[in-house]
Subunit: 200 residues, 2 copies
């Protein structure tokens, strides 16, 4: 309810929030979005519920609390609590305190570019960096065979080449992504135009 009920409730009642008397179309629309977002969860390596909670926060104009999640998504308190925490850990939603209310509320990052940046940062840390580190270790191990027979050498060199290609690729894309985040929503269309000219 955020804005409402600053006029202190006489007793220990939770300030009653404006409970969606919004028009059907809007509610259904949000529900559809949430459902679809949830369906993508398996592609993103997270649980359906986590994605749904994220979507719920994303489509809500007001902060969302645990009870909202429980009610709207029909999940248990424990489940809601744990997934909300994961989302906070990912940096996709933020805790928010509301004056006059003991509950904790959550709001999603709604700026899609910030969202992008957050996800990129996390995935880089969790996926790209471990892979790059592994590539380096692999190269070291492979190098120990540099003095082997010719055939072995050829195989080692072939593998090294693939490692190099993968590393170069990941680094090039990483650089690119960093630059895109820097130019942001404004710059990207200009950049696209430039590349278009370059590439014909």
């Amino acid at each position: 309810m955020s804005a409402k009920s600053l006029e202190s409730p006489g007793a220990a009642q939770p300030p009653s929030r404006v409970v969606s008397n919004a028009p059907r179309g809007l509610d259904e629309s949000k529900a559809l979005f949430i459902r679809r977002w949830g369906e993508m969860a398996s592609y993103w390596g997270i649980s359906r519920t986590m994605a749904e909670i994220h979507a719920l926060c994303f489509v809500s104009t007001e902060p969302v609390c645990t009870d909202d999640v429980m009610e709207k998504l029909q999940v248990s308190r424990g489940n809601a609590s744990m997934n909300l925490r994961s989302l906070v850990d990912w940096g996709l939603i933020q805790r928010e305190h509301i004056r006059g209310d003991r509950k904790e509320y959550f709001t999603a990052l709604t700026d899609v570019w910030q969202l992008f940046e957050t996800i990129v940062r996390q995935r880089r840390r969790r996926e790209v960096e471990p892979i790059l580190e592994t590539i380096n270790r692999c190269r070291d191990m492979t190098a120990r065979d540099a003095g082997g027979k010719a055939a072995q050498n050829a195989e080692a060199r072939a593998f090294s080449k693939r490692l190099d290609d993968m590393q170069n690729f990941l680094e090039a894309i990483g650089t690119m992504v960093d630059l895109l985040m820097k130019v942001g929503p404004k710059g990207i269309s200009r950049v696209s135009g430039m590349i278009m000219k370059l590439a014909g």
Copy 2:
């Protein structure tokens, strides 16, 4: 085994392949790569085994057959078969026939840019397009509330804005990715340079 044993086996013996007498370092190195690739599977929304099979194909200079997968990754025939097929469906590996051998062999896409292109194409089809389609449907449903009360209208407009932002973002990134694929490994460093100047 591809090159060897063209000198027809007298009987119905499968042409014996050069079974890795490669140096330890190289084998260990490949094993490490496979293990790490498999660990990333959950982030990629695929099973560990599927990622491991892909890695095995990726690090192998020679085509890989079902028995190789069973032996090197210690999985059942059925498992190997199904995952190989999934990888073929994804376009990440290709079937390959070897003269003089009844078995089917598989080779991975080893060009990382092709790999990138293949994955991008698939994910776009499976994730981005459904989301864009959903966004459009959501917008339609939301629009039905355009004539509502002021507050409802405001909420509907807020939601529409988020949908628009998401759509614009996905389209901008999509365009960008297409261009990057067009300029390829050669062009990307030049592009990065250009953006760098633009962004300071």
